[in-house]
Each structure stands twice: as C-alpha cells, then as structure tokens.
Symmetry: C2
Subunit: 141 residues, 2 copies
DNA sequence: TTACGTGCAAACCCTTTGCCTTGTC
DNA sequence: GACAAGGCAAAGGGTTTGCACGTAA
C-alpha cells in the first residue's frame, strides 16, 4: 500500500486525512511483516519507538475503516465458550455481520457449505475464515 | 452433560471436584442455549443472578480444562490485524498451539489444505476452525 | 492558518486474583 | 470437620478517550 491515493474514497466521505509518520510507519510494519499482529506487536516493530501506543491503536482503526487492514478475529467483546465436540455434534458457525448473532451449522465441506447456508439458513455469506490449529515443525519435534 | 460422572477423569488427576450450584447453573445455560457465549452472556442467563461474575469465569475455565467447554476463539491477547485481501493475496492461517506463531497459507480447499500443510509446511493439524461471515436472513432484508 | 492527528494520562472494560467465608463431601 | 469453591473487592492488562499542543495541507 504505497499509494495513499487509493485511500481517497474514504477521504472524500470525511473531510480529509493526513499522511503522518505514525500512520506511515504502522503501514510499513504490515508491508514488511506478513502476519496478523496485535497493536502491541505492531508498536514493538515501529522504526520510531517514540510513537505512542495509543496512536498505533488509532492508526489500526483508521486503516480498518479504510479497508486497508482487517481484523483477523471478528469476534468482539471477549472470548466465547460453547460445549465441546465431545458433548455435542461437530459444527461450525454462521456469524451475522449485521446483528452479531452466531448460529450453528452442521457439516464440514466448503463448497457444499456455502450452498447449504444459502438454501437452508438463508444466510448470505460475504466472506469466510478457515483456521487450523496444530503444531509447527519446531514445536512438533 | 448431565452426568457429572463423566468428568471423573480430571477429578482423579486433581484431588476432587465439587458439584455446586454455580457450576451446575453455568452448565445448564450451555445445554439450554446452543451458541457461543461470553462470560457476561452466560451470567445474564443464569437462573440465579446472585451468582458472582467471577464465579462464572472460574466455572468457564474449570469446564474448559475438563474438556466440556471449548473456547471458540483461540486467539489470545487482543485483536490481531493484517493487510486485507484487497492489498494482498487471499490466504488462511496456520496457528501453532505450541508457540503461538501464525504463518500464512495460500489456497482455499479443505482436504488439499491439510495435505499441503503437512507436506509443505510440516505443520501438524490438530483441529481446524471454519468461519463464515455474512448476513442472516433478517439482516439481509 | 486551519483543524486533523499526536502524545500523554486518565478512564474503561473485561478478566484474574487474594482473602475470608461458605458449603460440599 | 477439611478443604474445595464462592463472594467480594481490588488489581491487572489491553483498549479507548479527553485535552492541549504540534503539524500536515
């Protein structure tokens, strides 16, 4: 994202936006490191560590609203729990971006999933997120 | 999970565990409501609202260690950001349960995914998580 | 010059913990 | 009657916000 011009869309909606060292450097961190990072991690990697952590938070939400950054974890307000697979059937979740409700969805295949979601639940999928948890090479040894 | 007997495994490892109203009621909430809930949401749904929120937190981690409950969202320490798809290629993540590192993984099919993860990244998948984000029937209207 | 953005510090919210009491086994 | 578990309140850690100053445009 070297072209700040591309951000104009949102700039028009608001009055203007400014290209400042904190914002520039936060963006630099993301172009240098391709992995999801927390505010603290981004801050740790800034060229100029004098930049305030609060400014990093503000830059993150700034770029998120612009669509340049996305939050990997869209669940708000704390960790959520549910009964584990051992005590109920394996399933996934349909998370509504409108109202935030989470409903269960049984089954496990991707293409079929999207079809069934549309037909059975009338759920319109805008994007999906697939995560694997396990052990990397180093940790498995 | 009506049978507290099933929890004995862990009970043996530790000294013992007790069947108390707070734990019972927290579990009741999960058997009544099949959706991921935060501590606050669980608390809100307790029969007896006099039960302390801290006790709910303790019950949640208690049942998690027992394997009765699982945390839907395994990301620790705050929200993580990364460049959005518009600014880089579509990809998923491999999250190591050992060291917590997150590495990118290009591509998008489930079965093939697991094979490639094992071969290309030497990543041993223990479990996966698939999430869809979109609009439910009500919100799409 | 204007008003957006930053730094700083306090405020907030969710979660955890210490300590004493309660109540299960 | 022991000791695990709960209630209460304070502490902790991440995130947000108010305010005055600095600075990009």
């Amino acid at each position: 994202v070297k072209d700040w011009q591309a951000l104009t869309q949102w700039a028009l909606a608001r009055r203007a936006f400014r290209r400042t060292p904190p914002r520039q450097q936060v963006l630099d961190v993301f172009t240098r490191h391709h992995l999801p990072m927390t505010a603290a991690e981004v801050h740790r990697r800034l060229k100029n560590r004098r930049i305030n952590l609060a400014s990093v938070y503000r830059a993150l939400s700034f770029f998120s609203r612009l669509g340049v950054l996305t939050s990997v974890d869209h669940v708000r307000e704390g960790r959520r729990y549910e009964l584990s697979d051992a005590h109920r059937s394996h399933h996934h979740h349909l998370i509504c971006q409108g109202c935030g409700t989470i409903q269960d969805f049984e089954g496990c295949f991707l293409g079929e999933f999207e079809r069934r979601a549309r037909k059975e639940k009338r759920f319109r999928i805008l994007r999906h997120e697939l995560r694997f948890f396990g052990l990397c090479q180093a940790c498995a040894a």
